[in-house]
Symmetry: C2
Subunit: 302 residues, 2 copies
Amino acid sequence: MSFPKQVRIVEVGPRDGLQNEPGPIIPTETKVELINRLAAAGVRHIEAASFVSPKWVPQMGDAAAVMAGINRQPGVTYSALTPNLKGIEGAIAAKASEVAVFSAASEAFTQKNINCTIAESLERFVPVIEQAQQAGIRVRGYVSTVLGCPYTGDIAPEQVAAVSRELLDMGCYEISLGDTIGKGTPLKAKKMLEAVARQIPMEKLAAHFHDTYGQALANLYAVLEEGVAVIDSSTAGLGGCPYARGASGNVATEDVLYLLEGLEIETGINLQSVVDTGHWITRELGRHNGSKVAQALGECSQ
Amino acid sequence: MSFPKQVRIVEVGPRDGLQNEPGPIIPTETKVELINRLAAAGVRHIEAASFVSPKWVPQMGDAAAVMAGINRQPGVTYSALTPNLKGIEGAIAAKASEVAVFSAASEAFTQKNINCTIAESLERFVPVIEQAQQAGIRVRGYVSTVLGCPYTGDIAPEQVAAVSRELLDMGCYEISLGDTIGKGTPLKAKKMLEAVARQIPMEKLAAHFHDTYGQALANLYAVLEEGVAVIDSSTAGLGGCPYARGASGNVATEDVLYLLEGLEIETGINLQSVVDTGHWITRELGRHNGSKVAQALGECSQ
């Protein structure tokens, strides 16, 4: 066991959290305020927007306006998801500090989700990554379904390792390993991570675990033991995977921070400020706060 | 790391889960059906009732009727909480297979909760345990607030160890370590357990963790790594501690079973049957199902 001394939280609430939010389009100023509040709480890496067709993801249709509206803080990374060339052009124009591309470890998931093979999905990202690099922007790679596929079940750890390695070789500086449907358990998470870590140094790996089956914190604890030092999470547990049955999706940032504080791992983030931000945004959206820590601590009145 | 091959689940839903349920008194036949369904699902240890004054805990006022109504299965332990001599007499008359007594690791909690010192609370149990032993009934000991007190905060692991040791010396065959307010995190849980395990063999210890801060499964994973092989949990996450802010209390049996299945640890319990039981009882009570696994898996229609 060798827990990292510090963990970098990648807050995905403004993008992964809001993109599937049902109901009316969330106002740009609400998204901007969410991002500004998170930065003020000490979050240093925020996935702020997705430059994707508003036909497909209406909630992200104002990506450029969101990026323009943020009160940028020094030392904070404001990243954007860029699924294609149009996306990377938009993200560069909007001065994203970093962009992200995504594939999956499951062929069936990739087919149903973006209608191509994994290899084809990776090929499409070659020019995207090239453009980003020409603009001097770092690219993060996401791999979905690393602990299970909604269509085919189990995923071989070696398959996760292979896709991750390809994204790294294509130029991604970090690979975020996504348990998209939240079906993983600690042993499975460890075995998957060990297979990937044989291909990629641990410091280039991030854990992006969903809490659909309530296992996310246990799984994070297991991979922290292995030395993972980057964790994706979403304030108030915003978001979720439309492919996974059940209400919950992303693990809540507040619950992760509470876990990390108990492990004496530094994040530089003020837990109560994130709790307050989570209460504020869930009130704004009229939705349930998915963080147990937020419910237990309540909102600070000051 | 040495995970146990088998874990015994102590299902506390019918007692710890229902005792503080607000609203009308739950019918005896509902409690009996819950217990019978759990036994049919393969649960081998069920805390079925509390022989306590109905003035204090109205929901447990029908303890004798519940114990009489159960369709007893061979190999299943039906235990009852017995806070005093009147309680143990009632439990013996009702043919409880086992009884339980409880103290706490926090002086402040014991004072506010039962208006005496820890030493006095233990003294009161001497004749209770004696009577149980004379009747040939095993006694389980609960220690509350092992990972934090709602009034005084942190609790020294040595204090937990000392109280646990006293209960063992008084005749308890097993000590259940309760994180009553759910504030623990894995490192804290490990340190507490290690202190207790220096006084008591690991096979006589059980983990009774609440999920108020969402940490219960991570904490359970951490103590499973240490070799704990008995876990208290509550179907659908029924119950909770009235002293802890926030909605959730007991960790859900379904979520624990899912974790254990992933760790390839046997329990002899059918997960889907417990999921179905949880959906049934929460419908009966008109309350939220606190198990994420139950929400994700849904109810089996057959």
